[in-house]
Symmetry: C2
DNA sequence: TTGTAGGCGTTATCAA
DNA sequence: TTGATAACGCCTACAA
């Protein structure tokens, strides 16, 4: 049998039962100065009545809900997952709840989300846009609550921003492969109309140049997405048409898809072809062989983003802040 | 330069600007019957003023926030991740937002969470408890909002419940291994004081019995957790001490850790020792060799849980409902 | 069709 | 130290 959810005690119920005014109840429960005997009585009554202040009414009164939203394309993406896990404890510590928003890789959905902030159902937003359009930047400027953007946005954008130099990260991977003796380094990229795809391609090219290797268009294969399944198709195409001694995947899933396609050809990652991924997520340490990967500091970015946003919620004014996380390489068996 | 977030237009602002009363504004904006010329004017004024009704005030008035919480031990667990991804679209469809709660495997945290529902900061809760204590069941009974439990709970618990027969799932895996000719089937379990660990052990034993094999305590290895790292330790211990021709992992991560330890010994999963996992998450199709796994319908459970909860939010009364998802086996290379 | 007024539950101001 | 009262922004009888 289900209980009814209807009639909960309010502050009036408690006041009546304790024989005091509602203001006294409020004060007693919120630790304001008052007669301690009365405080005890009120607390006792509240307990027996099972009274708990209505968070909705409190929020209405204070005009903040103590909750923020985190909006990403897909929570299943390991990088975003790492961020959520990093954001959570920071918020919990501060008594702030976390709302999850899936934008489904739609800039339109992100813009709608920014507009809806004027409804004030959250106190702030952490947004990790996959594509940055002019319109998005414009909406960021006029957002009704503090916003922190995770990912690279134009310099003049008037919001806090935490980013990672993923171009440098990709270059790092290329350097490593070159140092291991690779001369024909294939690149399995994701869509280039996304911020990550774009900057990783730039990093691949820069890395080649710095290593004294020439960029060969035919060693570049662009997957339809950053997911494993589509990666398999792209990896197959790359290996069908080109002989490579090293492969950089734009993320771990793409790198692992390359490992699979090597296996299909009787080749072993590490021994025959060196493979490096990016993100350094759980998959990297679980894959076989373990995957060398560029750590892009997803967890760190999440933590920083949460802290920046909390500052704003606490009233911190001042110009937009920019935090940059530096990528590093975690070397495992797949590249040795 | 940051904008100020202070003075947003209210319904009064709009009313004054449009030269009507606040009730007219409310009616105009909510599509109530009224003079259409006036409606147009109000809408125009609202638009130029950038007015959007304050969600907090609306929620306060209606006494519901249009948001629910999903509470799990760790959102990084692939099974829970699959649930979130399944829950999201159902809620979005209904205009309900999703709050994420991490309980960190603490029953105490779960109980606190259930109590805090009386604060009414969510309209309902989907809870996936890892351990079910009497106290938890008791709190479920007196929760202030509708609750849906994902996972097996005692029959008399007065809340909606969606579960999977994971005992049958584990037995399914054992049958499969036996049918492939395995006679010494090791079991890499997670902690047995958890609901999943407990029922999977029972399924392993039942499966052996049904296959005409005897349960051998020494073929059972219990990992400290369901995570890959600890799985490696347990898998090593199992393989150091016993010769097996089949291994069942209590989840995909544990099964993959077994694959790793086999590799260390020059053995290949599938060819030398058949390996089966449970969960059938992304990891199963990404691992090398691809992992045969018991699909426990995590996504399906998420969808159903969301629907059950939505029913309650819409006022559906009636006795607690029980939904059971049936597990099935996805066969891949690791067991052939 | 429109406006006035009351109320949702809480906190805060002010006078007693 | 306490209690009456106003206010937060919105919706909705009810009266005009």
């Amino acid at each position: 049998m289900r209980p009814t959810y209807e009639t909960r005690p309010t502050i009036h119920t408690v006041a009546r039962a304790a024989g005091v005014s509602i203001s006294s109840v409020s004060r007693a429960l919120n630790g304001q100065t008052s007669n301690s005997e009365m405080v005890e009585r009120v607390k006792a009554v509240a307990l027996t009545l099972g009274y708990a202040p209505n968070a909705l009414a409190q929020s209405f009164k204070h005009q903040h809900l103590d909750q923020i939203a985190f909006a990403v394309e897909d929570i299943g993406n390991p990088a975003y997952l790492a961020m959520v896990r990093a954001i959570e404890p920071v918020l919990q510590q501060a008594g702030i709840r976390l709302l999850l928003h899936s934008t489904g890789a739609s800039v339109h959905a992100e813009i709608e989300l920014l507009r809806s902030l004027s409804r004030r159902y959250v106190d702030g937003l952490i947004l990790s846009p996959i594509r940055v359009t002019d319109e998005l930047v414009h909406e960021l400027a006029s957002a009704s609550t503090p916003v922190v953007v995770v990912g690279t946005i134009p310099g003049e954008s008037p919001v806090d921003n935490v980013r990672v130099d993923s171009k440098a990260g990709a270059a790092l991977a290329v350097h490593h492969l070159a140092a291991q003796g690779c001369r024909r380094i294939g690149f399995l990229n994701g869509p280039v109309d996304t911020t990550p795809g774009n900057s990783r391609l730039a990093g691949y090219q820069a890395g080649l140049e710095e290593a004294g290797l020439v960029f060969d268009q035919s060693l570049l294969e662009t997957s339809a997405s950053f997911h494993f399944d589509e990666g398999l198709i792209a990896a197959k195409s790359l290996l069908d048409h080109q002989k490579v001694d090293g492969i950089l995947g734009a993320n771990d899933a793409l790198a692992v898809s390359a490992i699979h396609q090597l296996g299909t050809r009787g080749l072993t990652a590490g021994r025959d072809v060196r493979v490096v991924g990016m993100d350094d997520g759980e998959l990297a340490s679980i894959s076989l062989p373990r995957l060398t990967s560029v750590n892009l500091g997803a967890a760190q970015r999440g933590t920083i983003a949460a802290q920046l946003l909390l500052d704003r919620l606490r009233g911190e004014a001042g110009p937009p802040r920019l935090r940059e996380v530096v990528p590093f390489l975690t070397v495992r068996e797949s590249s040795q």
